[in-house]
Amino acid sequence: MIIDALRAELYKLSRNRWSTFWAFGFMPLFALGMGVIEQAAYHFYMGDLLPYAAPLHESLGGLATFSASIFQLCGIAGAAIIFGGEYRWETWRAALTRVDRAPIMAAKMLAFAIAISISLLLCGVARLIVGFIDVGLTGYATWPPVDPGAIALAHLMGFSATFLQMMVTAAFVMLVCVVSRAMTAGIVAALLTLVACEIASIRGNMGDELIWVLFPNIAGEALRQAGNIMMGGRDGLLAGFAWQGAAALVMWFILLSAAALALFTRQDLSKE
């Protein structure tokens, strides 16, 4: 039944082209466009002062595209469409006579995971392209001083960090949509909460106390920094908390999803 629901959710996403583009397609294009502009500006204004094109560091950076709260807006909108759309269009009564509540919510989460993964990977590819454009402009490329396995693992960690952060955000959007029965509430509440978390956790970037990894943005950053170090980077105050950060993100995801699901399975849909 979860497969049926997943097929339906992915089909709906594929047909809701405009919304899906802004939710999942815009950020890779933005990463590519901004990257090209950025590199062109460096090249034409600074010439050869910065002759160190590093495509693989670019792609690793691309996997962090959704890490800052403001850049999560697109993903938040995507989650709100997936989890809040049925309330907005009053379609729960048509869908829930075909699939049970828990499988449909699980399918929605899976659909989001698939869509955000593709978006995230495309962001990485976009920045990789930017890196190679930079190679073309500068005529010079640097490569990480580590073996390919470490590069792959670093990218995997970079991907996992942002992916888990986005899944936590999606679970939060899901909870807000279920409680409020409104798509817009999911977007506004999630964005404000993420910005508030970022402001409140500035000190956490110092990496002096483990407790700060309870903030999803710090937890994600810890994983990203660990990946960066793996690829020869040197900065990483939070890198020592990488696994705790991953555990924190998984914990938040489970808690928020479970709360949303528990509420949804008991919710009266007398009027969506």
Binding site: A5, Y11, N16, W89
Partner: protein
Amino acid sequence: MPAALEASGLGKSYGAVSALGALDLAIPRGLVYGVLGPNGAGKSTLLRLALGLVKPSRGSVRLLGESQINARVLRRVGAMIEAPALYPFLTARETMRAFARYSGLKDPAREEAVLDRVGLTAAADRRAKTFSMGMRQRLALGAALLTRPELLILDEPTNGLDPAGIHEMRTLIRDLVEKENVTIILSSHLLDEVQKVCDRVAFINRGELVAEGKVSELVSGQGGLFIRATPMAKALAVLGLRARLEGDGLVAAIPEDAAPALIRDLVAAGVDVYEARWMTQSLERVFMSTMGGGA
């Protein structure tokens, strides 16, 4: 064979407001069953409870004999509750595809056949948000028919339909019952339509079952002979207390088989009879008298 829908002491309250009291009702299979009542009577609440969209505050409901209302039993049921629930960004064809996927169907031919059956083939590639209310209603009905349901639950199915659409809907409903043995539970405010299409009805008022029975039994025995004749005073004298004035004639409250004798009596009394026809009691009149004019 278990009932299509069986409610035992079924009730729903929202805070202090009781939407449905403690309803006991068994809807048999193989017929069209009307659930009637004024606005706020609890009809939609009953249907939503049956579909598991809301949880009962008391009592229980069984659907096709199953007490656990889950997708396993709901996939044997088609439903259209209140306004059509459609995705505005999908075309009619895509809507069918999406709901077919939710239902676990992999039969594009069935989707096309259903679109054809509800008369939307020509509009299949138009988005649902551009549809008129009647077209939306047809599309939602099509989605409900996708799984070849044993039971069809329709809440106000003729809403927004023009007279031709209402006629088509009536024909479709009767066809489904008579040719495909589908059980249909419908609620409607159009009592004339209900009388034409339903085999049995239940009257619900303020969350309570007020009356229930076969339509033919509810409206029988309460008919009358409409007579247009002159002079009226003489006709009234013949009929006595059995007559009441209605429009430009009078209605004699007599059994149908007494009509020929009465007409002979009127003629014998020197009354000129211009029109005499048997008036069946309308469901609307039964409804109004049952609800105490509260509808």
